[in-house]
Symmetry: D2
Subunit: 405 residues, 4 copies
């Protein structure tokens, strides 16, 4: 018994088929619709691509088998999601994008049988899209989730929710909602949140403006949403009241990692574009790719990609063992998000004038990955958490008499 880093033939084959689908079907569409204001080509295109992905046997590889998915664990999702992420339309096409994929993951873990029938089944099959309503404008829940201000109060037969959310991905056109609201304590307190499920059309949910951001690849935008006296019956409380932060953790670690997987696809593609450029473009008496400073950028990309992959593999394995994996997912997320920015920046630089133009997709893809250093916890918050744990670990070692000097 020892380390094994190989994938099964089934997974290897699935990766190859996913890559073929992206290259042949999705990339041409991405190039056609990239400039559109409606992200990822809109819902009509999404449904068409979903149907083709189902036909190709590659749809929703993470979803439970009983709901039509392939039931992959985190380790096996990694290379498949990366292949899908190569195109910014890929996650939508295979229905493995944020926030749907994370919501499917959490509902499969936490929802009641009735809730699974009503919400998980149509979501997993791609009949609807979903939104996860957690982050709020200042001074509410942002990088610091304990600042949660949207609140729910007990009413006969259920709860009534009021509050405002911002940066709610996929809100425009969402077929179902998962709403995080405070049911105990005050903003700033730890704990005391509950998750509520609600179908599209629930009275009191109003989707406001898009908050336009660097990235444009997620369908349904990042929107402002207001909740005014939204009634949710008891049977649509997800899990137990006041346990919302715990379920958010169930969602959080894996969702961070699938973000890394998808944007890894973007980074790999950009690197391939740059390699192709420097391997063919003449200048300074030879190919650009023979110049030392270009080689340094190429090699640094190779190192950054390999390190991200290795950290991702490690975190996924820990998650598959049933661990919280707080440290390893924070590390893989922080390293990956920063690496992707560096990689895209080097690719742009290697391609010179073309790199900063729309003649290549690099400038657009650089804008697509930049926000990941903020989404899912800014790098600074992850570093703070990592440091707290490390200093705590050292204190325990000191108290146990461990020797360093």
């Amino acid at each position: 018994m020892t380390i094994d880093l190989s994938y099964s033939p089934e997974v290897t084959d699935l990766v190859a088929r996913t890559r073929t689908f992206i290259d042949d079907v999705v990339l041409p569409l991405e190039n056609q619709y990239a400039g559109d204001i409606v992200a990822a080509g809109g819902d009509d295109l999404r449904r068409e691509l979903n149907a083709q992905a189902k036909a190709a046997g590659i749809f929703a590889p993470h979803a439970p088998v009983e709901f039509g998915g392939l039931g992959l664990n985190m380790s096996d999702r990694s290379p498949v999601f990366t292949a899908a992420g190569r195109s910014t339309f890929g996650p939508v096409a295979l229905h493995l994008g944020a926030p749907d994929e994370g919501n499917v993951h959490m509902l499969a873990e936490v929802a009641s049988p009735t809730q699974k029938d009503r919400y998980l089944a149509p979501l997993a099959k791609g009949e609807i899209r979903s939104a996860f309503a957690m982050t709020e404008p200042s001074p509410g829940a942002g990088a610091d989730p304990n600042a949660l201000r949207t609140h729910a109060v007990r009413v006969p037969g259920g709860w009534k929710i009021n509050g405002m959310k911002r940066f709610i991905t996929g809100a425009d056109g969402a077929g179902m909602w998962i709403i995080m609201a405070r049911t105990k304590g005050e903003p700033g307190d730890r704990g005391g949140a509950t998750m509520f499920l609600a179908p599209a059309g629930t009275p009191g949910i109003e989707v406001g403006r898009y908050v336009h951001t660097y990235d444009r690849g997620m369908i349904g935008g990042h929107c402002e949403v207001t909740f005014t006296d939204v009634f949710v019956p008891d049977e649509d409380v997800l899990g137990e009241p006041d346990e919302g932060y715990r379920y958010a953790q169930v969602r959080l670690g894996p969702a961070r990692m699938t973000h890394v997987m998808r944007w890894m696809g973007v980074a790999e593609r950009a690197h391939d574009i740059a390699l192709d450029y420097v391997g063919t473009r003449e200048g300074f008496g030879g190919k650009l790719g023979d110049l030392g400073m270009i080689q340094q950028m190429v090699a640094d990309n190779e190192i950054d990609l390999a390190a991200t992959r290795a950290l991702l593999t490690n975190a996924c394995w820990e998650l598959d063992q049933g661990e919280h994996a707080s440290n390893s997912t924070s590390i893989a997320k922080t390293y990956g998000a920063e690496a992707f920015s560096r990689i895209l920046d080097r690719c742009v630089q290697m391609c010179g004038g073309l790199g900063v133009s729309e003649d290549l997709p690099l400038a657009r893809l650089a804008n697509e990955v930049r926000p990941f250093r903020i989404y899912d916890g800014p790098s600074e918050v992850h570093r703070w958490a990592l440091a707290k744990r490390a200093v705590g670990r050292a204190r325990k070692a000191r108290e146990a008499g461990v020797r360093n000097v």
Copy 2:
């Protein structure tokens, strides 16, 4: 069948016993002899520590079982060597330091049965130390091995070697030599080298001055050695003539990785010392470890350590599959060597005045890891090789019609 990143209980236990031995037996001696001109306390201390390590059942974990070792593969060596590397005397104490460990590895792969009896057996058991005589002063073989100038000519019954070597680790007191000499072609040509074995006391081998370097942890120094009409009989040619570079490759990948393992131990120890300091030192109205800029350094160390470990695990696994692993070992070596310098630098900075003083071992350990960015191939050479391969890979993909845009 899927990813598995766990170690067997036997390896986990061996790691724990190694760590206990280092903490209880080796670290106190390191602190006592650290300033000595004779590295790692000299050969008398080495023999004493070797005996204790044998008694503890942790001696030479990499050596073949038939020669008294534990026969670990690369994956399993990793955590054990890291535990041993925690003290700069640890590798000598467990007889797993450079160049002996790499020489044992190569001899086990390449040597004839007779050569194994004569050279590998006493070396594996720690009865003697060894030297690997490859690098030369300018304009000879340095970062560019093809520049090899030391040459061997055919004489009756064997070969006669002439040339000069520099930076020959462990030369002073070596009980056996592996000598790399050109047997075909001219300096600058690819290929054409042969490896020769020679016992201590072979006429014509003269060990010159120590080339004093930043690092002081390797026993027997980094020396200048001259070879004047050194006769080596045919039975002491290692493997086939002219195949020296190929055998060097056998040695190179694993030797790079065991360097990473050992210096990883130094980096982990330094990080623990700094964590202990910032967790207890008061300043600016609290503990230093509660300050954001300190937390950033702590977190960056955590990330660098995790990334090095993950890349190392990956490269070791590839080597255990029988692959050359040129890319993955270059990446793990380059990333690790640079990470260790960054980590030690942050540890020094976190500890302020104490960090730059001899009151803590950090300044000394920082000097110990610095040269690794040059030893075993400077970072620049690894990056050059990585870039060449990446550009070549892209060319093949282009020729195969793969689509990126």
Copy 3:
């Protein structure tokens, strides 16, 4: 006699008036038109702003006094251009943007009296805009100017130009052209270029598509332009034939520095926006600006801004002494361009979700400064030139017997 780093009261006053004009008049317009496809609000807005700037006595501070400018030297331009560059519309409003400002500079140095009347006078006064047609698509003149392929051949009474250009800033709507064409040698040869002047409407000049780039602030776009049998009479040859590269040098050093000045304004503004945000936004039990990791970003911005300013001051002073200042302008350009990207990136990160959204202008401004690491010579080309000169300088010192060890 010693170092003096003070500005005259006249310059200090001009800086203050420029800043007031930008804040009161220009910034509100920028926010209104920022998303428009027509950069900087288009030519109608430009003429209106130019008139207001003239009325405020701050128009074209670099232009010769005899043509209605303020005649500032490079040192004095620095703080004025920075104040104007605070808004991406500022350079257009004060008529000190690229390429007009550099063209005015070069024409004032090189043009004949007749050419000054015909071209410089209306350009300096803002009656027309101009284009500098130098860079070409691959394999023509890009980062390597010697690759110039557009060529001009002798015809009776003048020259006939053929070729294709790309990334020609301000081409759409340009009232005059400066065209760089090869009159001697082959693509790849050093030297042999000539500069030609041509009015708008010259037959054979065709402005093609915009090459859309990260940056959108320059009026008239970065366009493709084809020159087909364009006739230029002898009196419109700028300076001497075959001396084009020499005149490009006259333009190049100062034009690099005014780019630094203008984008410095963007960087200062972004830093001020971020400071305002972290000084007021609550989170993690206080103001964000009290957190160590935020303070590190703030301080690094302060350092980067100060270093860019100091290097710029130095380079401008050398240019004002009549020196080529190749080293100091390369250093200020390279450092500045990289610093601006770092600064904008930190500002975005400090502002979190707002930073990556259009609710603040930071994401847009980050895209505005990114291309400067490629425009006016990629960082890699400047580093190559710096290294060549440094190694050459060391060789001379060695030959002169200077001692280092």
Copy 4:
């Protein structure tokens, strides 16, 4: 009236004579004594070199003219001190090293006429060396000066001082002491310190062990010193009681800058050594200096040196205007200290195996500059101060209604 960055012919000549003295007289001695435990060759060598420097007319260029110095202001000191700092023995040889130079500077500003006769005169002339006793072991005054614990109590005719100091540079062999002790408030309080003067041999001053550090260039070591009932008469109180922190500020800004000047000399020399190496060493089919990755290191050194120089020039000019220059000296110190570490690291890397050995002085010089990122305020403390001021400045601008968006 505008920017002027030129030096007077007198200063230019002084720089040239200083450089000649360093190259011809001091460097050979440095190489001879570099490994010695007694820093900078000891006091006998110091006196001999001081005499030669006086004969050459280059001794103590910063000291007041009436005490035998050249009376240079900060701006003019800059290139002279840099030339002297080229050798680690240079500052001792010209009597412009820490802490003497800073002490001369402060005594010239603050001391009474009697104190000047008794202490400043012999110190300025190099008859004695001095120590500035401020920093203490934890939990006393370190990076946070308000933690000062050494205290002085009123006794008839003077004060009695008790406490312990650490890292007191030049203590071993000091001919006079400036002692910082608390005369009001408690450790942690702002203010309340007094500076006391005391001659060598004052009862109760005991110099303890050397705290050995990375750097070895300062004569008299960094020592532990205990003060036990040390009596200082009223006439040896420097300036006013309780105003010690204010005088420390007088000393602090300039002392930071002269540290930058001196270590700039080390960095320039290391860069020259590396340039010489890469310009002559063959490898990979040419000179190392023709390889892109080497050129990048060379260029980055050029940029770092130029930026440090420019920031230093700026800070010195502000100091010469009588300003506190807190921001500009913090920036120049922080940037310079970090740049010197980067530069030395690149020089080591460029020189490969020789770089990490004692065959070149680079490894030794790298160790010499490393502590500067901690001495005179760690980079983190300077960044904290810079950020506090920047955020405060933004608050004032906000309150004044300044517009950024």
